[in-house]
């Protein structure tokens, strides 16, 4: 039998390939387009109300005027509080799991539990936080209770990213260190952690993003509907951006009038997450460079 025309085959191959490429290309542009349309929608609607007063003043006139300062401060407190709680615990747990526990049933079940924790709906965290921190431990509706609840939510993210970061460290580094008579802890602290650190920071970024936007966990544990003063201790209630946004768009006194403020709030929330990401990214680059030098 005669072989089919080579040119024709090559042409068809090329054609198929370019169709496939174009589908992939369009789909990835599509994702970017979604992101941009959300962003530009929020910016378009919200940029008008943003000014110095908006981010530094208390809300006024049934939240239709004035600023959102207490909500910004509240969110910053909650992010910081939840990270202080979740980051060390998560990182230490991941170190334990990756460096110390042998493969087996224990490691497997801890891992499974962590994954399950990540799959729990955030409203369930909210209810759990309310019954444990607010009622049982008597923290009341407070920044402490809210931070702890958000911390629980962030924990699996921190654990998983830290684990990935540790796994990415080549075993020969561990072997070289242990081969010099270093203990496991010396090896982890002096060799493994510095190499993994930039990637561990990624976990921090991701969990900050997650935590700052959550509404359900803070609903019953900290968030105040309207509280035109700043918190003075961790046992105070606080306003928070995502909840404020929810209130403004569903249960304010005059929803139509507070609509622009709502978009402004959304924009501020996005900007805060963006700044946090940029900061953490900078940190990661800085440590990435530094790690080679110590």
């Amino acid at each position: 039998m005669k072989m089919p025309d080579e040119n024709k085959l090559a042409k068809r191959k090329k054609w198929n390939q370019s169709i496939a490429f174009w589908i992939f290309r369009l789909l990835s542009y599509f994702i970017v387009a979604i992101l941009f349309s959300i962003l530009s929608f929020i910016i378009y609607k919200g940029v008008g109300v943003i000014n110095w007063n908006f981010i530094t003043q208390m809300p006024e006139e049934g939240m239709t005027k004035g600023g959102i300062f207490p909500a910004i401060i509240g969110t910053l407190c909650l992010v910081a509080g939840s990270m202080i709680f979740a980051f060390p615990i998560g990182v230490l747990a991941a170190i334990y799991m990756n460096e110390y526990v042998k493969d087996g049933i224990i490691k497997k079940s801890i891992k499974q539990m962590t994954n399950n924790l990540a799959g729990i709906p955030s409203i369930v965290f909210g209810l759990f936080g309310m019954s444990l921190f607010v009622n049982k431990l008597g923290f009341g509706d407070s920044i402490l209770a809210g931070s702890l609840t958000l911390g629980l939510l962030a924990l699996p993210v921190v654990i998983r990213t830290t684990e990935e970061a540790l796994k990415a460290v080549d075993d020969t580094f561990r072997h070289a260190s242990l081969g010099l008579g270093a203990s496991k802890w010396q090896t982890t602290r002096n060799v493994v952690l510095p190499i993994a650190f930039p990637n561990i920071i990624t976990g921090l970024i991701l969990s900050i993003g997650r935590v700052s936007g959550e509404t359900a966990p803070i609903l019953f544990t900290v968030a105040a509907y309207f509280l035109p003063k700043l918190p003075t201790s961790i046992f105070d209630q606080a306003m928070a951006l995502p909840y404020h946004l929810y209130v403004l768009s569903t249960s304010g006194t005059n929803i139509e009038a507070s609509r622009p403020v709502a978009y402004g709030t959304a924009l501020v929330l996005i900007i805060i997450v963006l700044i946090a990401n940029l900061l953490a990214n900078g940190l990661r680059k800085y440590f990435g460079k530094k790690v080679k030098m110590n």
Binding site: D103, L180, N190, V291
Partner: protein, 250 residues
């Protein structure tokens, strides 16, 4: 008196047996080459001497490995001190992400030495020992990653030497290096044997011939033949050894 002896050593990864009844004795201040095709167990055997295989889950050893007269797998053996005595150099150069100086100082520091002057002297001495001093003396505070592959590997040898081991294990130390760097490392091995006992795993027949005094040929987890390198290469007793040496299989 032998430096290293192994008696009836069996080794298992889970259910599969990687080493079968290995008996071998190594004299001090010699270079012993372990050769054989991939998967023959030579690297596994090498890693028994500093108990590196302990780090792999589900492994089991039977028999005795004796270093300086003591069974290193006996109960109560301090693995950290064993590893201080038995240094190791790996296949790929793997300096720590630290400065050149700190790489060599690392072993001293983790073993509790804090005397700054001693550390400085020891680092300089060791880097000179691996003939790297002239190349790095002006950039000790720079990252070890800035060195070339060959320099990195010599730095890794210095790192192992700094804590004054008496045995050095080398797991294909030149397989990732260019020919010039390789010959530098080989020269170094030749120099080092006056002070250390060296065991080297290599895939490179010429290298085994050039650097080693004795050679052990492994095949499918068994020690097929062990003799002086000269005998193994010129007059092997087992046909399989001959076939491997001459490149008829491998």
């Amino acid at each position: 008196m032998y430096k290293i002896e192994s008696k009836n050593v069996d080794f298992f990864y889970g259910p599969s047996q990687a080493l079968k009844n290995i008996n071998l004795a190594i004299k001090p201040n010699t270079v012993t080459a372990l050769i054989g095709p991939s998967g023959c167990g030579k690297s596994t055997y090498l890693r028994l001497f500093n108990r590196m295989n302990d780090l792999i889950d589900n492994t089991k050893i039977a028999g005795q490995v004796i270093i300086d007269g003591d069974d290193i797998y006996a109960k109560g053996v301090n693995v950290d001190s064993l590893r201080k005595k038995v240094g190791m150099v790996f296949q790929k150069p793997n300096p720590f992400p630290k400065t050149i100086f700190e790489n060599v100082a690392y072993g001293l520091r983790v073993n509790g030495i804090t005397d700054k002057k001693f550390i400085e002297e020891r680092v300089e001495e060791t880097i000179k020992q691996v003939v790297l001093w002239d190349e790095v003396k002006d950039k000790l505070k720079k990252s070890a990653f800035e060195l070339s592959g060959g320099q990195q590997q010599r730095l890794c040898i210095a790192r192992a030497l700094a804590i004054q081991p008496s045995i050095i294990l080398m797991d294909e130390p030149t397989s990732a290096l260019d020919p010039i760097s390789t010959s530098k490392v080989e020269e170094l091995i030749y120099e080092l044997k006056t002070k250390y006992t060296i065991v080297i795993v290599t895939h490179n027949m010429q290298q085994a011939g050039r650097v080693s005094d004795t050679t052990a040929f492994f095949y499918m987890g068994e020690l097929i033949e062990y003799d002086t390198t000269k005998t193994i290469f010129t007059n092997p007793k087992v046909e399989r050894t001959q076939n491997y040496i001459t490149g008829r299989f491998g």
